[in-house]
């Protein structure tokens, strides 16, 4: 009843092709943005900003990147963290070596570096698929970390390969408090998420999905496989690269290449699977689930008063059990749950 689009007439092509065709969706997204930009900064504490919201948003962006590649274009990748690392170390080098480099431009250039590396390591996808492609993207993961620790130039000749990021400053405004860092990350993530939402329904996005569903058929009806797959790698890596740069600049501050380990790649892949393969909303839900749930669990379990050696293990067990539960109940992820809910709401109160 509340969620019904009856009476919303599309009278122009423009209104028919909006990003959010249903009015309620538009209001909800607008309200969410208002809350995130205005209300949260008023009430949240420093802990919420720097330990919960900022990492959540950054990882959601990386998940979005992987979701473009895996969910929309159907190319499985285990190299997400490597692309993030390229973005982070790329931005670091632009900031270090170019005087007066604006931070935002450095992030974008870092993302472009990641995109180029993505295209390079996406080339095997033209010949191999599925698990074999996963193995070749695994090579990206190892190669990039190896290169970062082997070539001292990337880390500006730091003896142990650890970099300390510069302070972010845009138009003279210093982003050095947790609150301002959160707002910066939020702005970047919001813009990029809207761009992604728009992209996946454009001809580029549709060609990705055609290739995902059956690449031979897509080729027969005239999609150029090479271009489609490589744009998917490029765009996905760009998103991951920007996320990696934010991870270094707005979250950790001092980073060793090990921070972008295979472990992180797997975590992001889990976020995609839990959140929903091939869904922008799912990227956020998945990141929320994997980032926030362990924290919530650890706080809850902590109040049970059990000894710490027990609570630490209990936390992992509950988390594992929840993942299995969700995957059995809804293998298409949290986004699918929301979709089902949305359909029910649209029909309610008349179920037929």
């Amino acid at each position: 009843m509340i969620y019904r689009e009856a009476g919303q007439y599309k009278t122009t092509y423009v209104s028919d092709s909006q990003i959010f065709p249903i009015a309620q969706d538009r209001y909800a997204v607008a309200a969410l943005l208002v809350i995130a930009f205005l209300l949260i900064p008023l009430f949240a504490t420093q802990y919420i900003f720097s330990a919960i919201l900022t990492p959540f948003l950054i990882l959601a962006l990386a998940t979005l990147g992987l979701n473009i590649l895996t969910g929309y274009a159907g190319q499985l990748s285990l190299g997400t963290a490597a692309f993030m690392a390229v973005g982070a170390f790329g931005s670091f080098n632009f900031m270090t070596r170019v005087d007066g480099m604006p931070a935002l431009v450095a992030f974008i250039l870092g993302g472009i570096c990641a995109a180029l590396v993505g295209i390079l390591f996406g080339l095997p996808s033209l010949r191999i698929r599925g698990f074999y492609l996963a193995a070749s993207t695994l090579a990206t993961q190892f190669f990039v970390l190896w290169a970062l620790s082997k070539v001292p130039w990337f880390t500006n000749y730091s003896t142990s390969g650890v970099i300390t990021t510069q302070k972010v400053q845009i138009l003279g405004f210093k982003f050095d408090t947790p609150q301002s860092e959160y707002l910066l990350v939020l702005a970047i993530v919001a813009v990029m998420a809207l761009m992604a939402k728009n992209m996946v329904r454009s001809n580029v996005g549709r060609s990705w999905m055609a290739v995902r569903d059956m690449d031979v058929a897509a080729e027969v009806i005239g999609f150029r496989i090479m271009r489609t797959k490589l744009t998917a790698f490029a765009v996905s890596s760009f998103y991951c690269g920007v996320a990696g740069a934010l991870y270094a600049y707005c979250y950790l501050g001092t980073v060793e290449p090990e921070a972008y380990s295979l472990d992180l790649s797997f975590r992001i892949l889990f976020m995609v699977i839990i959140g929903g393969v091939g869904s922008i909303l799912g990227s956020f839900l998945g990141a929320g689930f994997i980032v926030l749930l362990p924290v919530a669990l650890s706080i809850i379990v902590h109040y049970t008063g059990l000894p710490n050696s027990v609570t630490s293990n209990l936390e992992l067990m509950v988390f594992g059990a929840l993942i299995i539960f969700f995957l059995i109940v809804e293998p298409h992820g949290l986004a699918r749950l929301w979709q089902i809910g949305k359909e029910k709401l649209r029909l309610w109160p008349f179920p037929h």
Partner: protein, 438 residues
């Protein structure tokens, strides 16, 4: 009349505040966040280390606290993961009146909160790991790589191997393999070892082992071909036991292997079985039993407040390291109380001063029941390390035994010069003006 009334009010207000602060003083408490890891691949070390810290805190509290100030703490599971560690740090830093020290026992977490501890004014100790150049307190006022850092360790290794060959000049023409974990950790000693190789004329062969290092056949084949005089094992986790076992398989004598201190715990030696016999490593704790450990056994474990489930692990390498962290914290607080008021709960900023003016000599260690347990330490603004000494221990098949009776210190002057250069570069990059804090 009105005037008198205000004065009365003022007097009574003063009386109330003094009464209140008196009430507070009777229950002085100081908070320590414990970023522990008890699950995951490094849990065996973490449970011993943080168990040792908690055991010592319990002992201090049972003996009346630090001049009456009780230590409170709360644990948070980090799984040795940098992101989880940062979250834990942010969650706990304001609890219990504010964190007064943080010791994560993880390089990744230490880097993740390196900038934050300065802003939050909470001292961070990194015993035997982390940034070596943080020993310069003028650039890193809130970071304390207490006792010894990786660079000091590498220098001490060179000194020990020199002594073993009959003098540092005898190292000329010798071949030393540096078998390292291929990460920031494994590469940390490069500058020291390279400089020493130039100075003393030994041949340095660097062989990386990719993480996690449970397959090292090709590396040991290389070592056998190179036929070095010594092998430095700069490993972590499962890599250590595998290295020792593989060395036994290719017939390389374990007596010629020298491990880093993170390769020298029971958890590293026991899985290697008989192969580990005769294998030696560096350490910043002399293995053995001490009165303070007996006291922990008697008082803390006697009252069933001990943190370790397996009491045979009391006094194990990791447990003793945790106790050392506890002792150094207590001593830093005592020192800070001398300046800021005895029996008062202090802030992280005040305890930072205590860490910077720490002085635990042999006599002091004796009164603490820990004579010779760790090197005597005296810190200053220029030297947040305070000692730079280490010992060599050997595994006799059942337990670690001290191999060198005295503490070994490498070329301190050279290390300190490197610290100064490297921290100056950091300061320039991060636009910090170095300066000592009062």
């Amino acid at each position: 009349m009105k005037f008198r009334f205000t004065r009365l009010l003022a007097v009574s207000a003063v009386a109330v505040t003094t009464a209140l602060s008196g009430a507070l003083a009777s229950a002085q408490e100081q908070f320590v966040p414990i970023l522990s890891y008890r699950v995951g691949p490094y849990a065996s070390g973490g449970s011993g280390f943080f168990g040792g810290m908690i055991d010592y805190f319990n002992l201090v509290n049972m003996s009346g606290g630090i001049n009456g100030v009780k230590i409170t703490w709360e644990e948070c599971e980090t799984e040795y993961n940098a992101a989880r560690g940062v979250e834990c740090y942010e969650r706990l830093k304001k609890k219990g009146g504010g964190a007064t020290v943080v010791e994560p026992l993880s390089t990744g977490i230490a880097y993740g909160i390196l900038d934050r501890v300065g802003t939050d004014k909470i001292p961070m100790t990194t015993l035997g790991y982390g940034r070596s150049d943080a020993a310069n307190g003028a650039v890193f006022p809130y970071v304390f790589p207490l006792l010894t850092s990786y660079w000091s360790q590498a220098a001490a290794m060179v000194k020990y191997l020199g002594d073993k060959s009959g003098g540092l000049d005898k190292l000329k023409g010798k071949k030393i393999v540096h078998l390292y974990h291929d990460s920031a950790f494994g590469k940390e000693p490069f500058p020291v070892l390279e400089a020493a190789s130039k100075q003393y004329g030994f041949d340095l062969v660097k062989i990386p082992v990719p993480h996690p290092g449970n397959e090292q056949n090709s590396q040991w084949l290389q070592i056998r071909q190179a036929n070095p005089d010594y092998v430095i094992l700069w490993g972590w986790g499962v890599m250590n036991a595998v290295a020792v076992k593989t060395a036994a398989r290719v017939g390389f004598p374990r007596e010629k292997m020298l491990g880093v201190w993170w390769a020298g715990s029971e958890e590293d030696a026991i899985p290697a079985g008989d192969a580990a016999k005769g294998y030696s490593t560096m350490t910043y704790n002399t293995p053995g039993n001490y009165p303070v450990l007996d006291e922990i056994r008697k008082k803390v474990y006697g009252a069933k407040k001990g943190n370790l489930e397996d009491t045979s692990r009391i006094g194990s390498v990791y447990h003793m390291r945790g106790v050392t962290v506890g002792i150094l914290y207590t001593e830093a607080v005592k020192k800070a109380q001398e300046k800021y008021g005895k029996g008062k709960a202090l802030t992280g900023e005040q305890i930072r001063w205590g860490y910077e003016n720490l002085n635990v000599d042999e006599a002091k260690q004796k009164t603490l029941g820990a004579a010779g347990m760790f090197p005597p330490i005296k810190t200053s603004c220029q030297d947040h390390e305070g000692s730079g000494a280490a010992k060599v221990q050997v595994w006799d098949g059942k337990a670690w035994k001290a191999l060198t009776p005295n503490w070994i210190t490498g070329d301190r002057a050279a290390v300190q010069k490197m610290v100064a250069d490297s921290s100056a570069k950091y300061a320039a990059d991060a636009k910090i003006t170095p300066g000592c804090m009062k």
